[in-house]
């Protein structure tokens, strides 16, 4: 074999003509991947990560204009016809997509699809041998009972299992290169940890190189050898993960690293917001694309785009001032200084009545079949008896994986009607016996901010009308509304002139600010925040998080903060409640719970969160959970976590017996409460 690198991308550009303009999605990127190497490509949405890897695979739509070259072991891949390319795909290069459901054919069994891939590239293989190998592969990727599961159809699998199947197909022909585009973005953290583990195993088994595309710096830190950062269709920094994470040299990377909350440091330092948004790819200014957002730009930055300069130790950055940063003349803290800490004006009031008290809240949904004659076949226990309390000035973080009942809980609070069982008290008033007008006035006190800021704003109203809407309910005059809207725009850091514009003219972060301004219009005491930053790009999250922290302190607000991202919760919350299958399994002061989690589920959840720090990542021992979240209709006796519990597995039989038969209740352990019988026997070490 020659000593050409496994994959070499040379000055690759991709553009999509669009009317008179063109969208220049990828603009001249070059990189190499060596045999067995793990490269992570990170970048915000729209930075061209997917397009560049699709170009390598030859999977771009017909209208794409591709220039440059892609070489696999020195042989060009571009301009080959489809037949040759499909021979290469699968055999030499395999791809794993974000959404495995659309990548698998729904009408064939999983086993057939693996076998098909095998036989396509090895004509001599018999049907028999192929199915034997398919079972083997499913076992490798950790599908339980593969002999049986091989006959299942894709829709019978959960998202995590489908992704395992995709990995099985990818490694079936022992490829030399696996390209994975956001393979875990659609999955929960605990499942993400499983999948990344399988991907690492697959890499070791086949010796293949992996290109992992992601927006999550933590995932790269824990898995990749090298990292490439993309911005506006260009590579702006490349190097080994250790170098780039510890000594970033391009201001964008510096900002990105300082803007993500990190499970280890969160809550102690403030996040650094990266203001502005990436430039439009159809109308790029001549200079550095990061210039409008760069705090250390100099006049030369606007004249020409800086090339990717090789600095010391295989580390390159595309910035005029990178040499200064490298030499230490410019420190990261000079480039993006941390904002002032929030003034300590917000003490949690313990003496008064809590803003929100939930006791024994239950919400079960009947599960029925049949269109005409409905028959109940089960019950979904979305919320199954939970207690929560939010005191004045307090932030309660409610965390849990998708489907655990977080959203149902907050909807119950916001509906303000009598729950199926249990009670909800808002500002001391039980919502079960509210009159119509009382409920209306109580609504002033509780407002919500939604996850997707685009969906939450009526596209046909101006920003002024949107923010002023809550006031129309309570009969404020037009003048008053206008004054209040201006005040609110100030409060969330937007300009007054924006009130006559429409939501689609704003960036994601600005839209979320509009949503927050609307929620604040009636001077509420409690804000319910439903994943308020999870739909935003990494660089924009920090600004919104900081705003929420400031507002809380200034207006003495209480938050019920729902999120699946533990680092975000660690950053902002005072107390935390961890939810699993409709129950709270652990709750307490956020510092305590994160420092010493007692419940095995909390421990697994925390250890699954990737930390954007390669050194910390290497020293971590993951507690991996088995399998998926059980179906919510399953009747589980005893502790509803016992099927997946890592502690259960190492307990002696008599203790296990207790887990299976007795439903654990929340009980105080040190300063926090956890719902587990055997906390005292827990020797698992998270983090």
């Amino acid at each position: 074999m020659t000593d050409a690198p496994l994959l070499e991308v040379r000055d690759l550009s991709v553009s999509f003509p669009q009317g008179a303009d063109e969208v220049r999605a990828v603009r001249g990127i070059s990189y190499t991947v060596d045999q067995g190497e793990f490269l992570g490509i990170v970048g915000e949405s729209g930075s061209g990560k997917s397009v560049s890897s699709m170009a390598i695979m030859g999977l771009l739509p017909r209208n794409a204009v591709v220039t440059g070259d892609v070489l696999l072991r020195g042989e060009s891949l571009l301009g080959r016809d489809d037949r040759e390319l499909s021979r290469l795909r699968g055999k030499e290069i395999a791809m794993i997509f974000q959404d495995p459901l659309s990548a698998l054919t729904p009408v064939y069994t999983v086993g057939d699809q693996i076998a098909e891939g095998l036989m396509l590239h090895d004509r001599a293989l018999s049907q028999q041998a192929a199915s034997v190998r398919a079972v083997e592969l499913l076992r490798v990727v950790g599908i339980p009972a593969p002999e049986r599961r091989v006959k299942a159809f894709p829709h019978e699998f959960s998202g995590g299992m489908r992704q395992r199947v995709m990995i099985a197909i990818a490694i079936a022909n022992d490829p030399d290169l696996i390209i994975a585009d956001e393979p875990t973005t659609a999955l929960d953290v605990t499942i993400q940890a499983q999948i990344l583990e399988v991907l690492q195993q697959a890499k070791e088994m086949t010796g293949a190189a992996v290109v992992l595309i992601t927006h999550d710096l933590g995932v790269v830190a824990g898995n990749a050898d090298r990292i490439a950062v993309m911005y506006a269709g260009r590579l702006v920094e490349t190097g080994s993960v250790d170098d780039v994470f510890s000594r970033p040299e391009m201001p964008y990377t510096i900002g990105l690293l300082r803007s993500v909350p990190n499970l280890v440091t969160a809550g102690r330092t403030r996040l650094v917001p990266l203001e502005g948004r990436p430039p439009s790819l159809s109308d790029l200014p001549p200079g550095c694309p990061f210039e409008p957002r760069c705090p250390i730009s100099v006049p030369e930055c606007t004249t020409a785009e800086p090339p990717l300069l090789v600095l010391g130790g295989g580390h390159s950055a595309a910035c005029i001032r990178a040499p200064e940063i490298e030499s230490g003349a410019l420190q990261a803290s000079d480039v993006f200084p941390r904002p002032e800490p929030v003034s300590l004006g917000s003490e949690i009031g313990s003496e008064q009545e809590p803003v929100l008290t939930i006791e024994g809240l239950v919400r079960h949904f009947p599960l029925t079949t049949g269109m005409v004659f409905k028959k109940q076949i089960g019950t979904v226990k979305a919320v199954d008896g939970i207690d929560l309390q939010v005191r004045a000035g307090e932030v309660l973080g409610l965390v849990g994986e998708s489907g655990c009942g977080k959203s149902t809980t907050i909807l119950e609070v916001l509906e303000m009607t009598r729950p199926q069982a249990g009670s909800i008290r808002i500002a001391g008033r039980d919502v079960a016996d509210l009159s119509r007008s009382d409920r209306l006035s109580l609504r002033k006190d509780v407002q919500i901010v939604f996850q997707d800021p685009m969906a939450a704003l009526d596209p046909r109203l101006t920003v002024g009308d949107i923010i002023g809407e809550p006031l129309t309910v309570h009969g404020d005059s037009k003048m008053e509304r206008r004054r209040r809207v201006a005040e609110l725009l100030d409060l969330v850091g937007l300009e007054h002139s924006m009130s006559s514009r429409y939501p689609h003219e704003f960036s994601g972060g600005q839209r979320q600010r509009i949503g927050i301004a609307r929620a604040l219009a009636t001077n509420p005491r409690l804000l319910v925040l439903d994943e308020p930053v999870s739909a935003l790009d990494v660089s924009i999250q920090a600004g919104v998080m900081n705003l929420l922290e400031d507002l809380k302190a200034r207006l003495r607000l209480s938050y019920l903060f729902v999120a699946h991202d533990l680092a975000v919760v660690r950053q902002i919350a005072d107390t935390v409640a961890v939810m699993y299958l409709g129950r709270i399994v652990e709750t307490g002061d956020v510092g305590e719970v994160f420092a010493r989690p007692h419940h095995p589920y909390t421990q697994a959840l925390m250890s699954a969160v990737p930390i954007p720090d390669p050194e910390a990542e290497r020293s971590r021992e993951r507690i991996l959970l088995d399998g998926d979240l059980p179906s919510p209709t399953d009747e589980i006796s005893g502790c509803n976590f016992h099927g997946r519990c890592p502690l259960y597995k190492i307990l002696d039989p008599s203790r296990q017996q207790q887990c299976v038969t007795e439903d654990p209740r929340l009980r105080m352990i040190d300063t926090t409460s956890a719902a587990c019988h055997h906390v005292e026997q827990n020797t698992l070490q998270p983090l």
């Binding site: 009317g19 303009d21 969208v23 949405s45 729209g46 974000q98 956001e182 875990t184 973005t185 659609a186 993400q192 927006h215 999550d216 710096l217 933590g218 995932v219 993500v260 439009s280 790819l281 159809s282 109308d283 916001l414 409920r439 609504r443 509780v446 407002q447 919500i448 939604f450 996850q451 997707d452 969906a455 939450a456 009526d458 596209p459 046909r460 109203l461 129309t472 309910v473 309570h474 006559s500 514009r501 429409y502 689609h504 003219e505 960036s507 994601g508 949503g515 609307r518 009636t522 930053v533 999870s534 935003l536 790009d537 990494v538 999250q541 699946h564 991202d565 975000v568 699954a608 969160v609």
Partner: protein, 310 residues
């Protein structure tokens, strides 16, 4: 794990990109975008100009002739087009031109009232049923289905003795009352999906009342559908009126509509074609022009529908 659902963010970014790249004016809204598309459609201009001209003609057409629709020129009965009787006369010497203008006027009024009125009923009923759901929705859906299976034309025929003696506005109202159901179902379905959108939920949790939510958030978001339906509803209403009148169940002489004129002209269509051809031509041109406008509107609102698809 952090951070985003890249799908939704990139979606959003792409729209932002599109708006940017089209160099749309700062305050561009969807309405402005629709108008831009509409402006570049010849069909729209042809249709709108013809409809406009016919409205002007219906208003002013009688001022330029010395005949009124009820005048009888007994000397010149049953003559073809002449310098004095531009469209000829019928067997009792009434001027066909004057009658056609007068018939067009009535047909237009009926169409312009009944079409939008039926849309209005559809919007209110559909949005209310879709938004409130539950029992009210079940009752309304049942009613809609019932009305849909009833033979509307037959019922109008049965009811014709009632409105024969009353103003033609009663007929107009009945036409509107029998043509709103299909659109109401469409609006109901749209409302159901809008109801689960977060901006509607947000309004509900603010305590905004049902009526206001429907007016402020639901109807504006189905407005384009409603405009199309109202436009095409004009065509449908004129058609219903024409058919009823043609069979003698609609407008009664001495009032005339295009349907009445067609009915009167039909027996002599071969011997004295002017009695039939002129009203028929006017009717066809009118309906065609309104349909052109409606069609262009639909394509502008939903570029994936119909003729602009590529």
């Amino acid at each position: 794990m952090a951070i985003i659902d890249p799908l939704s963010t990139s979606d959003v970014d792409v729209t932002a990109e599109l708006v940017d790249s089209r160099k749309a004016p700062r305050n561009s809204s969807r309405a402005a975008l629709i108008w831009t598309r509409l402006r570049s459609t010849p069909r729209f201009w042809v249709g709108a100009l013809v409809v406009g001209a016919m409205i002007v003609w219906a208003i002013a057409g009688l001022w330029i002739t010395k005949w009124s629709p009820t005048d009888q020129d007994l000397i010149n009965s049953s003559v073809g087009p002449t310098a004095s009787h531009w469209f000829g006369t019928d067997d009792i010497g009434q001027d066909i031109y004057a009658e056609t203008v007068s018939g067009l006027r009535r047909s237009l009024v009926i169409g312009l009232i009944a079409g939008p009125a039926s849309t209005l009923i559809a919007a209110l009923v559909g949005a209310f049923a879709g938004y409130t759901g539950g029992r009210a929705d079940a009752v309304i859906s049942w009613l809609i289905n019932l009305l849909l299976v009833l033979p509307a034309f037959f019922i109008l025929v049965l009811l014709s003795p009632v409105f024969k003696s009353l103003s033609f506005l009663v007929l107009t109202a009945f036409i509107a009352l029998f043509t709103w159901m299909v659109m109401a179902q469409v609006i109901r379905a749209q409302t159901k999906s809008l109801r689960d959108r977060e901006f509607v939920k947000a309004a509900r949790f603010m305590g905004v009342g049902t009526g206001t939510i429907i007016r402020r958030h639901i109807l504006p978001n189905v407005a384009s559908l409603l405009i199309i339906d109202a436009t095409l509803g004009v065509v449908a209403a004129i058609n219903s009126e024409t058919a009823l009148s043609y069979f003698g169940f609609g407008i009664q002489r001495p009032q005339v509509s295009l349907g009445v004129l067609l009915a009167d002209g039909t027996p002599s269509a071969t011997t004295r074609p002017w009695m039939f051809v002129f009203p028929a031509l006017v009717l066809v041109v009118l309906l065609f022009a309104v349909s052109l406008v409606g069609d262009a509107l639909r394509d502008a609102v939903d570029p994936t529908s119909g003729s602009t698809r590529d």
